[in-house]
């Protein structure tokens, strides 16, 4: 992957490149690299404990049913089975809206019905097969239209609307519409996408006396500790959650799921450690998904491109339950991305008898961005204004939602400039259309409400014999390189070589407040705390050394492994530790609050080139150039990998990924990695990261912001816009399947220009 770094962007904050403490090691390899390439890195599924049992969960085959009866006798009697749980014998634990851990009513095909723990996986599977359940099927609703139809069976209470719609308005949208000289009025839909982190959800549960340890694949060791303790009605201090390495999460592992508590209950019941990792099938049914949306969008503009109004009516398919975690704000981007006086959104949340939705990388923003940025492209074409120019004419200089200035008001504009230059947007010459393959280019911008980080966040930094530093944070490394980035920030803040630093993370027993790996917040939350801890530790190391060297502390400097005086005298950290004896130098760094007067955002832009085969309907993404403002870049390999990964997931969302539910039974038809189409190596375009390394020191002392979520946000819209450029087909519904493309390509040219699948 190529990263284009341009000095003027890299150090536009005015700092001298030679003094930039992050610069020297910004291309360092991951410290966990050797463990990951040798198979040594231990993930939750790899935990092996003496006497450990294997657990499996029985799931409902029905989308909606009442459990009449369960007979677990035969299962419990099988040799090797140590525990069987269902509503009959499990503790009655409230879960979700009005449900229970083991509910008598199941509300989607995949809902938990019973669980077993046995000597081996095979025995556990046999035991599941031996459980007899009598269901009384109930009528179900599987999509939003049927869920909202009059007389539809209600999944909870009396209506399938989960609460009142969220309405947000500024200005006078009606007047904005009257003032408009051109109106784009469209309905967009997006599909349910599945996270499919390659490591499934799950944990290994171990009880020692009254204390529970969960080796869990979780994005939030502290959140999970708190939620599990609450569900089990035991004090938090009796629960420990450990996440050494994790194989991705993408949002779906930020809440306690039923299986976490089920594992704990099975382990308690059997008095043995229990290994409960979901299989791929369950992973695709019951561990969250990106909500489907329907968005009716209207934007009005003057002939010169000035937006006069943006309104959107949004429906979100949440599935059978509200699983919690980060909310999906499809409406967010409509209020912030462009300067517009008159904006109104109405966002309703709809229950269906399908697996529950949960945050998926930039929840809501991916969906909202697809609609808004498709519409902007359509507007640009209708007005005959260059798409980037149109966006510049509506540039939001301030956060209109919170009515505050941004900490980096100019950065979005700079990402436009970076991508268009690196891509050659204005110079682009279409290859001559010959044969069935047509090329085209598309642009999309985005912002993202996350990436700024916030309290609480604490780290502990200690000088340990024989002169090394130890950094501790409870935060887990979801797989993005948190471990490496935090260690780099710390080594640089101390001014020592990273090789003299050890880092421990992913353990709630460290008793340090830490963020969940969500909202692109980890680095921006913890880096400032690390700076605080490093300042304190350095000061105390220098004071201690001053006493021994008989030099004033101000005349001393901390270097790798030693303290050096202006006079040239030195003290090794090893001897310092020896002199300290049992005294330790340790400090806790705390994340300070963000400034109330300013608003932090992350943002960016992407240009995409596609090739459409008008005979087969196939769309190939050829090239993507991405530029994102993530503040100062601590490690450009890690950032480039995040960009690459986000773009790849954006390509999957745009072209191939969709959960397919049987419209009658509610059964998921592609709950496996054969039929659920993740992008593969052959789908990989050239991806260029046009790096924008702008320290956002207004945001925090470390100048860093997040990059986890942003790169997935604009990809689908940029692809849609490029497809239009290539073949004149405007797409309103993700994913852009081969079948759908063929259908549109075969329609009359007029229909191509303005088709809009859904009746309004």
């Amino acid at each position: 992957m190529q990263t284009l770094v341009r000095p003027s962007d890299t150090h536009a904050s005015g700092s001298d490149p030679g003094l930039d403490p992050y610069h020297a090691t910004s291309a360092a390899g991951r410290i966990e690299g050797p463990d990951k390439v040798s198979g040594r890195a231990r993930y939750s599924a790899d935990v092996r404990l003496p006497g450990m049992l294997w657990a499996k969960i029985l799931r409902s085959p029905h989308a909606h049913a009442r459990i009449h009866d369960i007979d677990t006798g035969a299962a419990a009697a099988l040799p090797g089975v140590h525990a069987v749980l269902c509503y009959r014998n499990a503790p009655d634990i409230p879960w979700y809206d009005h449900g229970r851990l083991f509910d008598r009513t199941v509300r989607f095909a995949g809902d938990e019905v019973a669980a077993v723990a046995a000597d081996s996986e095979a025995t556990a599977e046999e035991a599941l097969r031996a459980i007899r359940v009598t269901y009384e099927p109930l009528p179900c609703v599987l999509d939003m239209a049927s869920a909202l139809a009059p007389g539809a069976p209600a999944i909870h209470g009396t209506s399938n609307r989960a609460g009142d719609p969220a309405i947000e308005q500024r200005g006078n949208p009606r007047r904005g519409l009257r003032e408009a000289e051109l109106i784009i009025d469209r309905v967009y839909t997006t599909q349910v996408a599945l996270h499919n982190a390659l490591e499934p959800h799950g944990c290994v549960a171990l009880w020692q006396d009254e204390r529970l340890t969960l080796y869990a694949s979780t994005q939030g060791v502290n959140t999970l500790r708190c939620e599990v303790a609450d569900k089990l009605s035991i004090p938090e201090r009796q629960v420990r959650v450990v996440t050494e390495h994790m194989g991705g999460g993408f949002g779906a592992k930020q809440v306690a799921w039923k299986h976490d508590v089920i594992a704990a209950l099975l382990a308690r019941e059997s008095a043995r450690p229990v290994h409960l990792m979901l299989d791929r099938h369950a992973e695709n049914l019951a561990t969250g998904n990106r909500n489907a949306t329907r968005q009716h969008l209207r934007i009005g503009a003057k002939r010169d491109g000035t937006l006069t109004t943006i309104t959107a009516r949004i429906e979100i398919q949440i599935g059978a339950y509200r699983a919690g975690g980060e909310t999906s704000s499809v409406d967010g981007i409509y209020h912030s991305l462009y300067a517009c006086r008159n904006v109104r959104t109405e966002q309703a949340v709809v229950y269906t008898n399908t697996g529950p939705a949960v945050a998926f990388r930039a929840p809501g923003y991916v969906e909202g961005n697809f609609a808004l940025e498709s519409a902007l492209d359509e507007l640009a074409r209708a007005l005959n204004i260059d798409p980037i120019e149109l966006r510049l004419r509506n540039y939001a200089e301030t956060d209109q939602r919170r009515r505050k200035p941004y900490t980096s008001p100019d950065s979005l504009r700079r990402t436009y400039a970076r991508v268009s230059e690196a891509f050659g947007w204005r110079r682009y010459v279409r290859s001559v259309d010959s044969g069935p393959k047509r090329r085209g280019i598309g642009f999309a911008a985005h912002d993202w409400v996350g990436g700024g980080g916030s309290p609480p966040g604490k780290v502990r930094l200690t000088l340990v014999p024989p002169g090394r530093f130890r950094l501790e944070s409870a935060a887990q490394d979801i797989g993005t390189g948190t471990r490496t980035a935090l260690a780099q920030v710390c080594a640089q803040a101390l001014g020592v070589d990273i090789a003299t630093l050890d880092i421990a993370l992913g353990d709630s027993n460290l008793q340090l407040a830490s963020p969940t790996s969500a909202g692109s917040a980890t680095l921006a939350t913890l880096a400032p705390a690390i700076h605080g801890a490093a300042d304190q530790v350095r000061k105390r190391v220098l004071q201690a050394a001053a006493e021994l060297l008989l030099e004033p502390a101000q005349a001393l400097e901390l270097r790798t492994g030693r303290v050096v005086a202006n006079s040239g005298r030195e003290l090794s950290l090893r001897s310092l530790c020896e002199h300290l004896g049992r005294r330790t130098i340790t400090a806790i760094g705390k994340r300070a609050a963000n400034r109330r007067s300013q608003s932090i955002r992350t943002c960016g832009a992407q240009c995409v080139e596609v090739e459409v085969d008008i005979e087969t309907g196939e769309v190939r993404v050829v090239r993507v150039v991405a530029s994102h403002d993530c503040g100062r870049i601590v490690n450009r390999h890690l950032v480039a990998s995040q960009v690459m990964g986000g773009v790849m997931q954006g390509i999957g969302f745009a072209l191939t990924e969709a959960r397919v539910v049987d419209p009658r039974s509610g059964v998921v038809l592609n709950a496996n990695l054969e039929d659920y189409k993740l992008p593969t190596v052959a789908d990989t375009p050239v991806i260029i990261h046009a790096a924008l390394d702008l320290a956002d020191t207004e945001a925090n002392v470390a100048g860093v912001k997040g990059i986890g979520e942003p790169p997935i946000i604009p990809t689908a819209a940029a692809i849609a816009n490029a497809i239009f450029d290539a073949v004149g087909v405007r797409l309103y519904n993700t994913p852009f399947s081969v079948c759908g493309m063929l259908e549109k390509l075969s329609g009359p040219p007029h229909a191509r220009m303005c088709d809009n699948d859904e009746p309004r």
Binding site: Q2, V37, L198, E199, M644, L673, V681, I687
Partner: protein, 168 residues
């Protein structure tokens, strides 16, 4: 045998292991649960993803689709068997150099696929690399860097920062 267990010997990473296995046991499970070699991962358990890839007589194969007792005669190599003590195999090193991973869960499988390719085709073309990797999914989307790691291991890319190739 009464217990239904069969005595088999498996040769894994150059060592012979005497095991008593149920005939239905799958190689991936035996590696992970009986031999403690948890480098190969179980992701789909049905031959869709490649996370369980190991070398069998030098050929990359999905260990989740293989009955362990069918492979008594074979030389099986897992990710743990690559490199020498204290020294990584060039393919492993190339993955670090190219940052060819994020979460690392697919990585052992990806590395074994590249290793299998290079052992038989030391100078592969991009098309050959892509074909060799086409059975390995990476949800973190590190494909571009994985391709580059393969090129570095094949000696086609010096692996320096400046030469970062940008093609997939």
């Amino acid at each position: 045998m009464d217990s239904g267990l069969l005595r088999v010997q498996l040769s894994v990473n150059g060592q012979r292991h005497a095991l008593a296995l149920e005939p239905r046991r799958v190689l991936l499970d035996v590696l992970r649960d009986d031999l403690g070699l948890t480098g190969a991962k179980k992701v789909c358990d049905m031959g869709n993803c490649g996370a369980c890839t190991v070398l069998v007589d030098g050929r990359p194969m999905y260990s989740c689709l293989m009955l362990a007792l069918d492979w008594r005669e074979a030389a099986i190599t897992t990710i743990e068997g690559l490199g020498e003590p204290g020294q990584l195999d060039p393919v492993q090193q190339a993955f670090i150099t190219a940052d060819a991973y994020q979460c690392g869960f697919c990585t052992p499988g990806q590395i074994m696929s590249v290793k299998g390719l290079l052992d038989t085709t030391p100078e592969p073309t991009d098309a050959q690399i892509m074909r060799a990797l086409s059975g390995n999914l990476c949800r973190c989307g590190a494909y571009g860097n994985i391709m580059r790691a393969a090129r570095i291991a094949a000696g086609r890319d010096p692996g320096t920062d400046e030469t970062g190739s940008d093609t997939a």
